[in-house]
């Protein structure tokens, strides 16, 4: 077939192969709260990062479908490693789309190889769901910009070489690049959080950090709607597929355990209640996969509805992931509560996935909006409907 298909096959196979090499290490990373630097280097060398970037920047120009499947392979093994792919992809997508030629030439090749690890710093104490409330200030000062503010919950914020920081410039939302070694940047690692424990999450303090004016990404006014918007859209897409991988792994583990474990001379899988759980899990995983595939298709043709299709996929996949991981813990019994339990770790990770990149509630608001617009559209096209049926008194 054509080279695009060959590339796609290689991207998915590469991720699957890499996942196999780290499968047995992920529990220890979670326990210690560290993703070893060598793993990041190896992931870059294996071509896992920024795979959808154009080839001229060292990307693989892979299709959305291949990016999705590859992300699912990693998500089936370690959510923190999957989060590395997600954040790297978010910042790469935002720079690839809206960065200046200079910014793209400087950073995209390094992001593609993993020579630079990216962080996306949007959330603040008073700006979580409502990102329009970001207060971090970006002030012109000579030919530099001075950045002051506190960012919270930055995935890979403890180790990132390049941060995409969202703040305000002249009152307007703006996005700016900050290298990790700029004076005035302090990192406060977060430890022992519910999930994504090896994702090197940190709170960041920016105290008058100076960067050249050329570090502004897109004009002020476009930092949130376009730059952060593109990053978050990409993030939702890979989180969705990561959840599919996580849910598949939990479903596989639950099924294997139910088939093997015998209590009172009966296999767990021979109890109807347990079988029903496995049946529901199968439906949840399949539905999430199909919604993610739909998102892949509409993203491939750059359909304007792709943003909404991605919200839908992420919403459904993160819910499938929590449901299937929860049921998998139940089917495992105490084995699911073991400190090194895969399904237990994935239940914690999946819970986080319903909060980040657009929480359940926020997704529902967007999806309802979409449904109402579709209704209006069909209402306009349909012939006049009869009025309410008169009730005889």
């Amino acid at each position: 077939m054509d080279t695009h298909t060959d590339t796609d096959t290689a991207v998915v196979a590469g991720a699957a192969g890499f996942a196999d090499t780290v499968r047995l290490d992920a529990a220890a990373w979670d326990r210690t709260g560290v993703l070893p630097a060598t793993v990041v280097t190896d992931a870059g060398a294996a071509g896992l990062l920024a795979r959808d970037l154009p080839r001229r920047y060292g990307g693989a120009d892979a299709s959305p479908a291949a990016i999705g499947e590859a992300t699912a392979r990693i998500g089936a093994v370690c959510s923190s490693l999957r989060a590395l792919l997600t954040v790297q992809g978010m910042v790469s997508a935002a720079l690839g789309r809206w960065g200046s030629a200079e910014q793209r030439e400087r950073w995209l090749p390094a992001l593609a190889t993993g020579a630079a690890v990216a962080g996306f710093a949007a959330t603040e104490e008073s700006a979580g769901t409502e990102l329009a409330a970001v207060a971090t200030s970006i002030e012109p000062s000579g030919d530099a910009l001075r950045i002051t503010g506190r960012k919270r919950w930055v995935t890979f914020g403890a180790t990132a070489d390049l941060l995409l920081v969202i703040g305000r410039l002249d009152g307007a939302p703006a996005a700016v690049l900050v290298e990790g070694d700029r004076p005035g940047l302090r990192r406060e690692p977060v430890r022992g959080q519910l999930g994504l424990r090896a994702a090197q999450v940190a709170h960041l303090d920016l105290d008058g950090v100076r960067v050249p004016r050329s570090h502004l990404v897109a004009p002020a006014g476009f930092g949130l709607s376009h730059v952060a918007g593109t990053a978050l859209d990409h993030g939702r897409y890979t989180v969705a597929w990561g959840c599919v991988g996580l849910a598949r792994a939990c479903q596989r583990a639950a099924t294997a355990h139910a088939v093997e474990r015998v209590q009172g001379a009966v296999r767990l899988a021979d109890h109807q209640l347990v079988r029903a759980t496995l049946g529901r899990g199968h439906v949840a995983v399949t539905a999430a996969e199909q919604l993610c595939r739909h998102a892949a298709q509409v993203r491939a043709v750059r359909d304007p509805d792709a943003v909404a299709a991605t919200v839908l996929a992420k919403y459904a996949a993160s819910r499938a992931a929590t449901r299937v991981s929860r049921d998998a813990v139940q089917v495992h019994g105490a084995a699911g509560c073991d400190p090194d339990s895969l399904v237990g770790r994935f239940l914690r990770d999946a819970t986080v996935m319903r909060i980040i990149e657009g929480s359940d509630e926020v997704s529902e608001l967007h999806l309802a909006d979409h449904a109402i617009r579709a209704h209006r559209r069909s209402g306009a096209a349909a012939p006049a409907r009869p009025g309410p049926v008169a009730v005889p008194s």
């Binding site: 006014g221 709607s225 376009h226 043709v301 359909d303 509805d305 967007h366 617009r373």
Partner: protein, 101 residues
């Protein structure tokens, strides 16, 4: 909106050939759905308060997908996107540039 229809339209309009009135009508039809009802030609659609946080990217994808143009970082100027007339002029300029290039 029916995406296939819009895509079909873009395929059938050679670069640079769309009449401004057709572009404006297509833009208005998209906006009528995206922001509630069709804005007046010079009305600031972002001032309405009915646009969602996802709208800005949907609008970009719409003009690219429908009119076969590429919105580049240099094009990020609210003057290009605020009103139906602004989007129409922007699309016309981009298509003219594409057909020349």
């Amino acid at each position: 909106m029916s995406v296939s229809i819009l895509r079909g339209m873009s395929d059938s309009i050679p670069a640079g050939a769309a009449r401004p009135a057709d572009v404006a009508a297509t833009v208005r039809a998209f906006l009528a759905e995206a922001v509630g009802d069709a804005p007046e030609p010079d009305e600031d659609m972002f001032a309405r308060g009915t646009v969602t946080s996802l709208f800005a990217l949907q609008l970009i994808a719409f003009v690219e997908n429908t009119f076969g143009i590429e919105v580049e970082p240099e094009d990020l100027d609210f003057a290009n996107f605020r009103t139906v007339n602004a989007v129409t002029a922007f699309v016309g300029g981009k298509r003219a540039a594409t057909s020349r290039g």
